[in-house]
Amino acid sequence: MSETAPQPKTAASNPPVQPIASNLLPSDVVRISATKDVPQPTRQLEKVAKLIDVSKCIGCKACQSACIEWNDTKPEVETNVGVYENPHDLTPNMFTLMRFTEWVNPETDNLEWLIRKDGCMHCEDPGCLKACPAPGAIVQYSNGIVDFIHENCIGCGYCVTGCPFDIPRISKVDHKSYKCTLCSDRVAVGQGPACAKACPTQAIVFGTKEDMIAHANERVEDLKSRGYENAGIYDPAGVGGTHVFYVLHHADKPSIYDKLPENPRISPVVEGWKGVTKTAGLAVMGVAAVGAAIHGIFARANKVDEHEEKEAEKLVVSGGSDDRGSV
């Protein structure tokens, strides 16, 4: 293992025969959940991205199969209830899912079969990482990949609360959270994600974010020339852009693609919870506890005196009546 892997520029290339050393190191981490002051890496990896061109997708689910194969997950066999999705939702064992929508275009009255590959978007500003209370359970690398480090995960589900895309799923078996890793283990050795490699129509492509944006722009141009005048890129700015992004033929209406959020961002509720509540709450509790302790030690206590003990005796002996009245 002498040679270090190159940074992957495509998912198409085949791996080298000889073993190579990982090129995605702990020192390439730029953000760590529940951790302040992460030492910033000495090098900046080139930003990577996976582009999903919805207009090219044929719904074959090869990406799902490749994902299961590479990640060695075993999604449960479910019952056919008459929909195309299989399984019915993302699960701790299914990191990516083709979501199918039958949509009648009101302008043309044509039925359009919209197929969107759902999965982690690898946000530049990840809500899961912001919400996570467990130090080191979620990390973000300088190439943009957001990864769950399962040995640190406590299974609380806060990442579910934080994610604007409803992606993480908590396993009922080991109580840890799972989602697409963008095949960080493949990227580490110079390979693209398994789904992109398996895609027969190159609806899924992988490379540097810059290359993918250029490619996406070409695709948008092509779609526009074919009459999809609202074709465009879905790379939502509300989460700082994403490292998995779409080309949509109806980019003006993302929600028709099985409720793809129009303007995803980390919810202000989550921001408030993890921001001012956390800081101010800790300060208030700290001041109250310390203040009470200091006051308790130094302030004059409220003590019963001998006179009151005597008065109590008198009161009890007299059966509850004294000079101040009776019951």
């Binding site: 209370p133 589900g157 109250a288 009151e308 008065e311 009890v316």
Partner: protein
């Protein structure tokens, strides 16, 4: 016999020279300490999830995973134990006209000038505030807590609702910790109070100074009540 106004039927004068008064029997004391222990465990584990600088507290439970599954279970224990206490205590914690006078003279309370304050039944307005504050916050915490209990109720509410639940849970937790600090502080500052929850009795002087109507009623009952 009609229900007493200022005391529980079980409260009584235990001895006269010196006077000691039974304030809490064994069951409620034991239950109170179950609530207290639960609250402390919840506070420690909850703070660990609340702020990264306190995450190390999960170590007391054997790690983050254990703290994560234990926290809500202790929450249910606290809820049940507190509800039992609620049933036993709510009646004498209802507000009375004396509470307003007491609150208006809060300065005298803080200075310890109790001779200026109205005579009170078993609880003063401060104690009632703690009782009702705890009640309200515990209900808010159990409801919001179940909504975010991933292990068993992960699908119960939508994710946007869950965001509000987690925020509410955090805010209510901060509030209940403040009430808890006030409770412990007041019990400590007002000397002679803690024994009511340990031995179950208070001195006559304590009852005379802080809860004279309560003492007066017990004294009257002792003399006029059924033969012992």
């Amino acid at each position: 016999m009609p229900r007493p106004l200022y005391s529980e039927p079980g409260d009584r004068i235990e001895s006269t020279r010196p006077v000691t008064v039974s304030r809490y029997r064994g069951f409620i004391r034991a239950n109170h300490w179950i609530t207290a222990l639960s609250l402390i465990l919840l506070l420690v584990s909850g703070l660990a999830f609340f702020h990264p600088s306190l995450y190390f507290l999960t170590g007391l439970f054997g790690g983050g995973q254990t703290a994560r599954w234990l926290h809500p279970i202790i929450g249910v224990v606290l809820f049940v134990s507190f509800m039992v206490m609620f049933i036993q205590l709510w009646r004498l914690n209802l507000p009375t006209p004396d509470d307003r006078k007491w609150l208006n003279q809060i300065g005298d309370v803080v200075k310890g000038n109790e001779e200026n304050l109205p005579e009170l039944g078993k609880y003063n307005a401060g104690q009632k505030f703690i009782f009702w504050g705890m009640t309200l916050l515990i209900v808010v915490l159990i409801v919001s807590g179940i909504m975010i209990w991933e292990q068993f109720f992960g699908e119960l509410v939508s994710i946007p609702t869950r965001r509000w639940a987690v925020l509410t849970h955090a805010l209510a937790a901060v509030a209940i910790i403040l009430v808890f600090i006030l409770h412990v502080y007041a019990a400590f500052w007002t000397r002679g109070t803690l024994r009511a929850m340990t031995r179950g009795t208070v001195t006559g002087g304590w009852a005379y100074r802080h809860h004279r109507k309560w003492l007066r009623e017990l004294a009257g009952r002792r003399q006029n009540g059924p033969a012992e």
